[in-house]
Symmetry: C2
């Protein structure tokens, strides 16, 4: 047991789809919350088909729905809606991330649910916030990254805006909602008080780029620029990726010499066998090195290109200078220590088979929470209706027969 | 009151510095936890001086330390160490993110603290996990981004790896720890059980790039590549940033036509006045458009370049196609709706003055938690020693006089 029992007894009624909502509820499921996905009986969460290459649930879906249960309910049937309300009456948390206005049109908006269950923690994830000029716009991860300022500070200095490979608009937002849900839940345990939580993906992006705002504020107030592989504002050289032996797209090592630690540069000169440059006034201070950035980068590159990235990381890192090889997804997947440490685990899935994926990376008493399979569509209908609503077999059978549940 | 009382009574002894730890405890402080920073009496958290241009605390520091208190303690003095242990005995949570091995060398490792307070939730953030080949290496945000796979999937297709402008290695890690702390705290409220939580920044990065692993797994098993402004795997065109009128570095609009919604393309053709291309077999399906990517991008760019990015976003977005202007930090700072909605608020700081910054973006009953000032170094010494340890004025005065506290 390594964290999987933390949230035992916490019932989450999960109407969310794709990633921003599901990443949030999955984090809570890994810590033991009972997360019940309410899905359309025909196709389920549209994430089940995203990027799919065969008839199974998409690998995309598996990433964000581990450790949950699924109940397929037809929300176009009035009895289906009543069923969801009955579940909401017994849930601690309800969450949705439909397009703006959709949940209210379904008749499951906050005011309706609060009237049924005043203590519920009702959660909404949208692209833009209520009061934003774009509050009715559709959004996906990349739209939030564009409108939240993140793309403006990602990419080469003289190139177009790039989208970070991480889904900060989706999973980044989901994590902020998960923290807020647990905060509200702690209060509820104390006071019985419910809560209405709302987050916009655009707003969530701002949380992750606060250094760029600080940089803007402390310089000339102009927008923070892009800086390639360097930090916002550029930092002081050496900083960034330097090319290594091999010449592949990721044969680079990141080297960072901190302005706060002047010894980093001298140590690096020793590693590179360039003791001749110690105390050279062109490079002796962060300011001097910034003035001679191109030369400094050339000196470092001349050394890094003679080593593969792992060796370069080892040699520089061992000298107590921050350094990191640019690892790609394949190299990470092939590093056995991620599996040994439980950071990547095997999901045993009844249709997909054994699938190795990343789980919750925080370890509880040395162990990451165990991954269990993402649910098949409607897999847990009987279980959930029996456990949450005490329905008997006859009643469940009737609901199935009449197409209320899948 | 809008969330600020959620965690009332939760005591966090915070020995963390820079960003990964402080971003975590700040999230909890915004929801009402009593976060006490333990700082070196001479210089405090090194984040106080990061990028600083005057004698005040750095704007960097303000971002990550709102709503906290500060107690300056000399940890090189044995009485200072004893004081921290006394505080740990009454704390619910203790957190640190020093270099590997440092907290244990200080004599404040997990085993020591657990012996004093078995119910404590003891939290450690490191660059690399125990058991990783790099477990003794130093790491900062950018090293984690390099070694966690994120830089390998960020940047232009034919360019070098880029660093996303967001600090996923730092704040991204901090958010995962915050969720885990609250999970463990919920269990502790129920059972009294303490916990030892550990997270590595490299491992945390994997959590945010799961789509890249899914893409790798469902294609040929080769590493996920970089894709410029497009999604991992490239998506189907139109997708990505398209140039707009103005020609500035961020005069682009993001347009996304989902493979899951074939109507997006037809709607876009109508917006662009290119109804002549509806049903053109070269562009009629996602597969066809992928084969003619360059032509599709040219057709879209010819239209976008005639509009400023806001107009383009409005016209495309209003047609129910996901679209977003690439906004820079200045444009966001100047949009009054962020302040109206409480996403950006004024921190009233005794030394810096009024400073507008981003706060917690999740709204509780329509309101974001209120920002209060980041603490001056040692500002709350008397308060904390009195409230947490019931020390009287004479005792506090003696500790100050003897240099145990600052």
């Amino acid at each position: 047991m390594s964290g999987e029992n933390c949230l035992a007894g916490l019932r989450i009624l999960d109407l969310s789809q794709f990633e921003a909502g599901p990443s949030c509820t999955e984090a809570l499921a890994w810590m033991g919350a009972d997360v019940v996905k309410i899905e359309n009986p025909k196709v389920g969460d549209p994430g089940r088909t995203a990027g799919r290459t065969d008839a199974n649930d998409a690998l995309y879906f598996l990433q964000y729905n581990a450790n949950k249960r699924s109940l397929a309910v037809n929300l176009k049937n009035p009895r289906g809606l009543e069923l969801v309300k009955a579940l909401a009456a017994t849930a601690d948390v309800m969450i949705e991330n439909f397009a703006p206005g959709a949940i209210e049109r379904l008749g499951l908006g906050y005011e309706v649910i609060r009237a049924i269950n005043p203590a519920i923690i009702y959660c909404q994830v949208k692209g833009f916030g209520a009061g934003s000029p774009y509050e009715n716009n559709l959004a996906f991860d990349m739209i939030a990254q564009a409108c939240g300022g993140l793309m403006s500070i990602t990419g080469e200095e003289d190139g177009p805006p790039c989208k970070p490979g991480a889904t900060i608009g989706d999973t980044g937002t989901g994590m902020l909602m998960a923290i807020s849900i647990l905060g509200a839940y702690v209060r509820r345990l104390r006071t019985g008080q419910g809560e209405h939580l709302q987050v916009a993906m655009q707003d969530a992006i701002l949380h992750y780029i606060r250094n760029a705002f600080a940089y803007m504020d402390r310089t000339d107030g102009k927008a923070a620029p892009r800086a390639g592989s360097r930090t916002v504002g550029g930092g002081n050289p050496p900083i960034g990726v330097y090319p290594c032996k091999g010449g592949g797209p990721n044969d680079y090592v990141y080297i960072y010499t901190s302005a706060a630690n002047p010894e980093h540069w001298n140590r690096l000169l020793k590693v590179m066998g360039r003791e001749d440059l110690i105390d050279d006034p062109r490079y002796a201070t962060p300011v001097a090195r910034t003035e001679h950035r191109a030369e400094v980068d050339r000196i470092v590159s001349e050394w890094t290109i003679r080593h593969d990235k792992h060796t370069a990381m080892h040699l520089v890192g061992s000298a107590t200078i921050p350094a990191g090889a640019v690892l790609d997804t394949r190299e990470i997947a092939e590093d056995p220590t991620f599996r040994q440490r439980g950071i990547r685990q095997t999901m045993k899935h009844p249709a997909v088979g054994d699938y190795v994926m990343s789980g919750w990376p925080v370890r509880f008493s040395g162990q990451a929470p165990a991954i269990t399979a993402a649910p098949l569509l409607g897999e847990h209908g009987e279980q959930v209706l029996s456990e949450w609503l005490s329905y008997d077999a006859a009643r469940i059978s009737e609901l199935k027969g009449n197409g209320v549940v899948g």
